[in-house]
Amino acid sequence: MSTVTETTYEAVIGLEVHVELDTRTKMFCSCAIDFGGEPNTRTCPVCLGQPGSLPVVNREAVAAAIKLGLALGCRIAPTSEFHRKNYFYPDMPKDYQISQYDVPICLGGSLRVDTSEGEKVVGITRVHMEEDTGKSLHVGTSGRIHGADYSLVDYNRAGIPLLEIVSEPDVRSAEEAKAYLTELRAIVLALGISDAKLEEGSMRCDANISIRPAGQAEYGTRVEVKNMNSVRSLGRAIEYEIARQIDMVEAGERIVQETRHWNEDAGTTSTLRSKEEATDYRYFPDPDLVAVAPDSAWIEQIRAGLPELPAQARTRLRDELGLPADRAGTVVGNRLVGRLDEAVAAGASAPEAANWLVNEITGWAVERGMEPAEAPVTGVQLAELVALVGDGTLSTKLAREVLTDVLEGKGSPRGIVAERGLEQISDTGALEAIVDQVIAEQADAAQRVRDGNAKAIGALVGAVMKASQGKANPAMVNELLRARLLG
């Protein structure tokens, strides 16, 4: 992007995020949710849209919607309804989607995000409940929808509960959009209502993007962009689309209202359908379903059970546990707060425990394609490790080895240390014997130290460490050598 245009135009962006809930069963039927199962193994008359079948609402999905609404500071509607969104598509079993329309369950919240320019508040228009579609496999030479010879439909995903979170058009840049999506994902994960994997589609984000000359009040023509499969591609798509729109306006062309598809490989967007092709959804209240009217007792019970939210956790880690802000952000972002709190409760210092979590444990998990939070080490084990280093039993280097053993399921740090005989030798008698032996073997080096060459002591320390198979306490070795040679 040229700097000239950047100062002339402002982007106006609203985000629509769909989150697949990880309830045990689907939104309107009792089919178990099972990602990645064999095709059409998780279907029933209801989620196949068989004639005569009827939907019944999953109570847990409603609870999840209320949870997210409360976390986003929304008002929970005293009464909300389900509507039918009518359009024909092979992967939609009833050829209408049960969704919410003019009376969604949550209204009017906000989300605070941190950007390089400080805190930003993005308004939340609504959160509503709906059902997912099935999945089409496009068969043909291209493997994509365009150019496919035919398609094969699997309805395992059809009817999985979705929450759709619609933001106000408050986002102004790719950076803000990325921060918004990252924070929303962190909230969803903290609430435990979805695994929210963008790459796998259990969280999806569409962006409505328009530009206008800076200072202009009216919005420009908006373009909806779909198919971004990561936070990074959301950022790329927005940057591309802003640039495309600016180029068009600069070239005197008119932007048309349409839906565009983000092509990850090409790094471009292309037309999916124009406004003229947009469907008339013919929303009307679903006569098969009745109102959702959560009473205040239920809402308060859900509120009382809300976990600490990411923003609260970051503040607490910084202010109460003394972590630097960025370290607190990483711990929270990687969902390691619980592990940290457990370690601190077991006596570890928070900065040290956080250090292990963010560096070693996260690194180990990432190498294995796991979420850091999935790393199999408890906070108590972590505290033990920190203590073993603190009391000089383990060197940092040995502690890393011990941690790896813990992560590989070989036991607790103390158990592993005992089993492998890894305690540092801090016993003066045992160390003195090794030190004397090394001084005798390396008489030249010892003499150079006596002659005032302080650096030469390094070689002797190294030799002692080697002779002790790494178990000698380096500080004590240093001290003993100095006493012998310079004392």
Binding site: P45, L48, G49, Q50, P51, G52, S53, L54, P55, V56, V57, R84, N86, F88, P90, P93, K94, D95, Y96, S151, V153, D280, R282, Y283, F284, P287, D288, L289, V290
Partner: protein
């Protein structure tokens, strides 16, 4: 022809319980009657001889072994082909579902099995229950046993004709705008549209979800109440099912009308009714007064808007309910280059003209820019009709009036005039819009020897009072349900009277 087919369900139940007859004999007698008459009546799309005899045999075996049996064990029934039967064709009389065999049973079908009712077969209907004559079936017309040149009414014309023809003592229909009561009136039998939510809709192939309700046909009021009792009750698979316990339909059924207030709906007695219908309805009201009821004049001022509201609400819901017939998961498929073409070709070939008409009306009424003027406005009229009923019931316990403006019309008479056909439902529609129960009782014949029906309406869950009034009048009038007249089907056991 066995005289067993002339018996009511209650009589058969007692004969079976006393061991005077076996369920197999009862089933066989009715299957024989179907074989003898259905070539002319064409009530059935599919007769389930084997299943019926097997089920009857099983009932006999369990009775002999002293095992527990359902309340209507061994009593035969004709089932409208709109209720899902696992593994058995369920067509809605539509080409689009001609070969469809559901992978599950409707809740009503399960309850019938629990009652040990023997299902004889699946009956003809207007395609997707859209019609008032059963002429909209994709497969066959059905003929009125009282005059084989006339329609049996609809959409549940197959079940009502089967019960009137003595093919079965009981029938199951569905009523969205009058589809049980109007054919009951045309065929001289009892038909009940229960309170909305009293009988599960799970497995009832939807026409208009907020109006559809399953209900019984019988040749006596008590039989209708017995069948309703067997199928009613809360179903967790239907979100609109009433969770409270169902009323006791039978406890007070023989108590008479002494002390009851019967309202006569002024607007229903105004113009538009055939003189033969008016005469019988007037006589019936007079008898009710003689029997001790207090007759009061009441008004439903917005009832006349009911047809207009109904023909917006029902097609709107139907347009969405019928979207799923797209050639992808079940039913007919007509090829096309693209998925969209395949869908449009399939639906063009699979739906008949009336279904297409209603899909078009509904799609239009819900489309951008028209929703408020049509659909939302129709739902407001619905509110006004509910308020009208509430005011009327402040003055009386039940309401009465004609079920239909005319007796059965001739085959082909109204097929080319959809609006005239729709106006047949003018008296029945308000109860559907209000979700309230209503019953049609045969009260006599017009000058053409065609039955006339009296509609008895009650407030939501007011079935006990409705049955009580109907039963009192039935006992007093002693209407003979045997079809008779020049062009009638022959009487069971002999030639046409």
């Amino acid at each position: 022809m066995s005289e067993l087919v002339t018996r009511t369900a209650a009589e058969l139940r007692d004969l079976l319980a006393a061991g005077e007859v076996s369920a197999r004999e009862v089933a066989q007698a009715h299957l024989d009657r179907i074989r003898a008459t259905d070539g002319r009546v064409k009530a059935f799309l599919k007769v389930l001889d084997e299943q019926a005899l097997a089920h009857a045999g099983d009932v006999d075996r369990r009775r002999a072994a002293g095992e527990p049996l359902g309340p209507l064990a061994g009593v035969p029934l004709a089932l409208k082909d709109i209720l899902a039967t696992k593994g058995i064709e369920t067509t809605c009389a539509s080409r689009i579902l001609e070969t469809y065999r559901p992978p599950y049973d409707a809740t009503v079908v399960k309850r019938l099995r629990q009652a040990d009712v023997v299902v004889l077969g699946k009956t003809n209907m207007d395609e997707f229950a859209m019609g008032s004559s059963t002429e909209n079936s994709a497969f066959s017309k059905t003929y009125n046993p009282w005059d084989l040149a006339r329609v049996p009414g609809g959409s549940s014309g197959g079940s009502s004709a089967a019960v009137a023809a003595f093919d079965a003592p009981l029938g199951i229909g569905t009523d969205t705008g009058g589809s049980i009561r109007q054919p009951a009136a045309f065929c001289g039998i009892v038909g009940v549209k229960p309170t909305y939510g009293l009988v599960s809709r799970f497995g009832l192939i939807a026409f208009a979800s907020s109006l559809d309700q399953v209900g019984p046909f019988a040749r006596s009021v008590t039989d209708a109440a017995l069948l309703l009792d067997a199928i009613a009750g809360h179903d967790p698979a239907d979100s609109t099912s009433i969770p409270e316990a169902k009323p006791d339909f039978l406890a007070g059924i023989d108590k008479g009308v002494q002390g009851l207030r019967v309202g006569v709906v002024r607007e229903f007695m105004a113009e538009g009714m055939e003189p033969g219908v008016r005469a019988r309805v007037d006589e019936a009201v007079a008898r009710l007064e003689k029997l001790g009821a207090t007759v009061v004049d009441v008004s439903l001022p917005h009832a006349s808007y009911g047809v207009a509201a109904y023909y917006l609400i029902a097609p709107s819901e139907a347009s969405s309910n019928l979207s799923r017939y797209d050639g992808v998961r079940y039913g007919l498929r007509v090829p096309g280059e693209t998925a969209e073409e395949m869908m449009a070709n399939t639906r063009a070939a699979g739906f008949g003209p009336e279904v297409k008409r209603r899909i078009m009306i509904g799609t239009y009424a819900l489309s951008a820019g028209y929703y408020d003027a049509y659909y939302a406005q129709a739902q407001r009229v619905r509110t006004l009709i509910i308020r009208d009923f509430a005011e009327a019931y402040a003055q009386c316990d039940v309401l009465v009036g004609p079920t239909t403006p005319s007796t059965a019309f001739t085959v082909g008479e109204k097929v080319d005039d959809p609006l005239a056909m729709y106006l047949n439902d003018v008296y029945t529609i308000p109860s559907n819009l209000a979700g309230a129960p209503a019953l049609s009782l045969p009260i006599g014949l017009d000058e053409h020897h065609l039955p006339v029906g009296l509609q008895v309406m009650a407030p939501v869950l007011g079935e006990p009072a409705m049955f009580r009034v109907a039963r009192a009048l039935e006992a007093d009038l002693a209407f003979d349900p045997t079809p008779r007249g020049a062009n009638a089907l022959e009487t069971p056991g002999g030639a046409a009277a």
